[in-house]
């Protein structure tokens, strides 16, 4: 077991280092600052060996995207191939998140190989950044990148590369990020080959089996147990006024937990649908967060959960349903439903809330005015976590945007960022000292519950309580983001 732990730590280090390196060399603030990526090592059996991530959404999506890539290319994968996909319907979550895998071979056999998954700045679609509040089809959000061989036996497929760069408003950033991903994967491949030299594949396989077993047991020990009857909950929210609900029944089965989402709303003509991978990730995140000891993210952990996700529902939509808001909004309500269902279990310790959606925005220059742009994904504040001062766990590893960066890079002046005395929430005001920009406002909403709002003052005063597309944020205007206290768990109303 000790040998297995040592070997496994090396594997985790490869994954972690790949992520760190990627963060350091990436050009996009989404990666460099918000850490909207995951780095992993996969086995030749498509099992997740180790994953380094700070955002819940990647948990199952990385593995399932890789599975989609291998299913697609099947027996047509060779040394030097780099596979890529960014498609909600090929194991992914939202279209602008790319999964890039670098299959690795030793003596002709596929061995442990590295994978990176990251959100890109823009992959075309109707609005820069991919978050389209009115989208009802996936093509309106982003281009779908179905499984592609970006490098074929080490040779860059220039036409496919150019295709990707032609379908983005941020080609320089995208190209830099694709190159960074490729470089990090190549370095990780070298490290894995080195490791393979130290620990033969067969031995590593045995070690991994032990580790997976250990992680699984660790999770099962602490996950809710003695579940009689099954825990049930349903959380309602809204999509532009349309009522939606995520319903979940959690049941202990022979060797794990089964999460059944029967009763969840049917898929909607709005971007709130969650792909299966996304739904699974947000469902298990509150359970994983509740474990006393932070578990390794690997196949053992994932195998502790099974799911029923009704086809055609909000948690398993059919093409061409739009999915961009799945992580930033629906994922939070999914986590909340799971938490509430766990509270049904008597004798089980409470599951702390990890959710807490709040308003955010994507800012960009007026469409068509610039040849190349870099959308700003703005999350200036957060709803306070019920358990402390910080943001809820689903905020991930994002860094709260700094006032100085906003001022230096984007021409926005943060005039205040303060806790509000009345409800413990946060209010952040930003003034536009630069050119007019447009913003897509992304807003969670639910009947009788308050998740924050956005106010625009000065020339075009308006209070946004729902998501909105292409709203002007003019020179000299001020926009204030209001976040509730105690996160989205609060049932207070405003």
């Amino acid at each position: 077991m000790i040998e297995a732990q040592v070997a496994y730590s090396k594997l985790e280090a490869v994954s972690r280092e790949m992520g760190e390196r990627f963060q350091r060399i990436s050009r996009s603030p989404l990666i460099a600052q918000d850490r909207a990526f995951a780095a992993a090592v996969m086995t030749s059996d498509m099992e997740l060996a180790a994953q380094h991530q700070l955002e819940a959404g990647h948990l199952f999506a990385l593995k399932e995207s890789v599975a989609a890539l291998f299913d697609y290319f099947s027996f047509d994968i060779a040394e030097g191939d780099i596979l890529l996909t960014a498609d909600p319907y090929s194991g992914g979550t939202q279209a602008q998140t790319i999964t890039m895998a670098a299959p690795l071979f030793y003596e002709g056999e596929l061995i442990l190989f590295p994978v990176l998954r990251a959100q890109m700045a823009d992959m075309s679609g109707e609005y820069p950044g991919g978050f389209h509040p009115d989208a009802f089809e996936v093509w309106q959000e982003s281009v779908r990148v179905t499984p592609l061989k970006l490098y074929k036996q080490g040779v860059k497929q220039r036409d496919l590369w150019n295709f990707l760069l032609a379908n983005t408003r941020a080609p320089s950033v995208l190209e830099a990020d694709l190159e960074a991903m490729h470089a990090c994967l190549q370095t990780a491949q070298k490290q894995l080959l080195q490791l393979n030299g130290q620990i033969p594949a067969e031995k590593m396989e045995n070690y991994l089996e032990e580790i997976f077993q250990y992680t699984r047991q660790q999770a099962l020990r602490e996950l809710p147990s003695e579940l009689e009857p099954a825990g049930q909950a349903s959380v309602s929210f809204q999509a532009d006024g349309e009522p939606l609900a995520v319903a979940v029944t959690i049941q202990q089965i022979e060797d794990g937990l089964h999460l059944d989402f029967s009763g969840t709303s049917v898929q909607t003509n709005a971007p709130f649908n969650m792909t299966r991978a996304s739904a699974k990730a947000y469902a298990v995140w509150p359970l994983i967060a509740a474990l006393k000891e932070e578990p390794s993210l690997n196949e053992g952990l994932l195998s502790a959960f099974t799911f029923t996700l009704p086809e055609g529902s909000l948690v398993s939509p059919n093409l061409p349903a739009a999915t961009a808001f799945s992580g930033i909004i629906t994922g939070h309500f999914t986590a909340e439903a799971v938490m509430a269902a766990c509270h049904d279990f008597e004798g089980t310790r409470d599951i702390d809330p990890v959710h807490g959606p709040g308003p955010q925005a994507v800012l960009f220059p007026p469409i068509g005015t610039e040849r190349e742009i870099e959308p700003l994904f703005l999350i200036p504040g957060y709803p306070r976590s019920p358990e402390g001062m910080g943001p809820p766990a689903l905020f991930g590893g994002r860094r709260l945007v700094s006032a100085e960066e906003l001022e230096v890079h984007y021409g926005f002046r943060m005039t205040s960022r303060e806790w509000k005395e009345e409800d413990g929430g946060m209010a952040v005001s930003i003034q536009n000292d630069g050119q007019d920009v447009m913003m897509n406002i992304l807003m969670p909403e639910a009947a009788n519950r308050y998740y924050g709002h956005v106010e625009r003052t000065m020339e075009n005063p308006f209070t946004f309580t729902r998501s909105a597309a292409e709203e002007r944020f003019g020179t000299g205007e001020e926009v204030t983001f209001y976040y509730p206290g105690k996160g989205g768990a609060a049932d207070e109303s405003k």
Partner: protein, 579 residues
Amino acid sequence: MSQSDMILSQVVGGSLDAIARDMSETVTRTARSPLFNEAHDFTTGIFDLSGKTSRLVAQAPGCTLHLYAIVGAVNELIDTFRYDLHPGDILLVNDPYHGGSHSLDWTIVTPVFYNRKPVLFPAVRSHMGDNGGPVAGGYNPNSKDIWQDGLRIPPLKIYERGEKREDAFDLIVANNRLSHWLEGDLNAMIGACKMAAGRIQDLLDRYSGEKVAKAIDERISYTERRVRSEISSWPDGTYSAATYADHDFQGNRDIKIQANIEVSGEELHIDFTGSSSQAEGFINSPLSNTTSFAFVAVSTCCDEDIPINEGYMNPVTVTAPKGTVVNPELPAPCGHATACSGAEIAEAVLLALSEPAPTRVGVNAHKLPLAYSNGYYEDGTPWVNLNFFGYTGGAGAAYETDGWGLYPPVMTGVILPSIEMNEIQYPSRVLKHEYCSDFTGAGRWRGAPGLDVQIQHLKESWTSVMMAGVRNTTKGFCGGGDAPSNQVIVQDSTGEELQVKETAFNIHMEPEGIIQFYRAGGGGWGSPMERDPLLVQKDVWNGYVSLEGARRDYGVVFDPETLDINEDATKKERKTRGE
């Protein structure tokens, strides 16, 4: 040139024409989309390689507005893969900024090798039913950048050495709402190219590459001589004209297209300096499209028996300042370029040419009241109906001929789909499709009568309307009257009838909602007061001209009972009107 050379040139040229026509037939008979198999909204052609650029050597009758756009696209494809071409490769492009027009028009080409060198290239350019992006059908009146038009496909190899690149192919199909059509349509285009490649190979084997090349040179040179001869019959000089697009769908009105034409001996230079800056909305015309429409205009001024090939283009040069509506820069949207501002480009060129070549210009009409609808079949599969019947019409008059039939020359080769097939393929009914009175440009020769069309969609649907030719209607020539204004009225889900002034986006229509089109006829040619009264009488008998219209527009007075011409009253009327 010896007689045998000339005969060989004719034989080879005829063979290449026949192959291009066969390609066209192959596409028609094997494609899935009604845009192909019913409307024939595509063009097939064959190119060769001369130095670094490709040359059009044969083209089947097809959608004329593709004429030069296909040349630009093929050039881009060959240029991109110049040092990476192999037998069996099949190349695809749709990007307006890679030699295209609007991104709905896709071009496929394959190289044919002789002596290990790529020598000839069969190509197909087609209008696809959808192109991903924000709206079904690809016409997005809200578009403000090229990505809001739809998917951009820069030069891409979809077959490599005869083997399908499944990932590239599937990537394209995945970004299309009508994947069930697209896959079949792409295969039809590819099939046509492969068939042509085989035939061309036979031709090369039979006559040798050198002889075929020589024959092609001669054929191009023949066309060039004919076009030069036509141009040289026009007086030297500089001629200018301007025309306007109504709006750019973003609230900016009267977008100017300026054509300055210099006739110098047997050469023609068309310069679009003076045209408006590139527009906010999706009416920008990439240079290939601008050149294409300029050539369409020039070609209507030449004899129709001249073979269409590179020789047409050699005596003509086209320049357009960068950053203008006729040569936009990335990321300007171009989704509507093949209608607006294409129509205005051809019109401005024809107006300018009406001075040196008055008896050659005419047949002008492409300002469309475009409306497309989309919805879902019973099984949830989407449909997109371009409502072709609503705007196919409006040919203008030319010297010695009234406007005829339905499509104007820019759409030659595109045919009006059969109403019965249309009703089988879509949940739609054409309730009415008929000529109406006094709804065309009057003239010594008048435009084709305008149309009154009603299309009903039996299922819930969404319709977007893009009006053109409302304020700046299609022009007449040499004293001929301009066309009247187009009109479209849509019944929305509340049963309200909405007359669309400029544009409407995604109007929700309940089942059995009706779209009413009034598609104006074309422009007239020459003064209406010079029209033979007997022709006016015939029009009155046919209901194309009313009695009031006859008097008002032509100065011809009739006995309302017998419909006989009142010659005295007519003479008097025309005299007072300054005949």
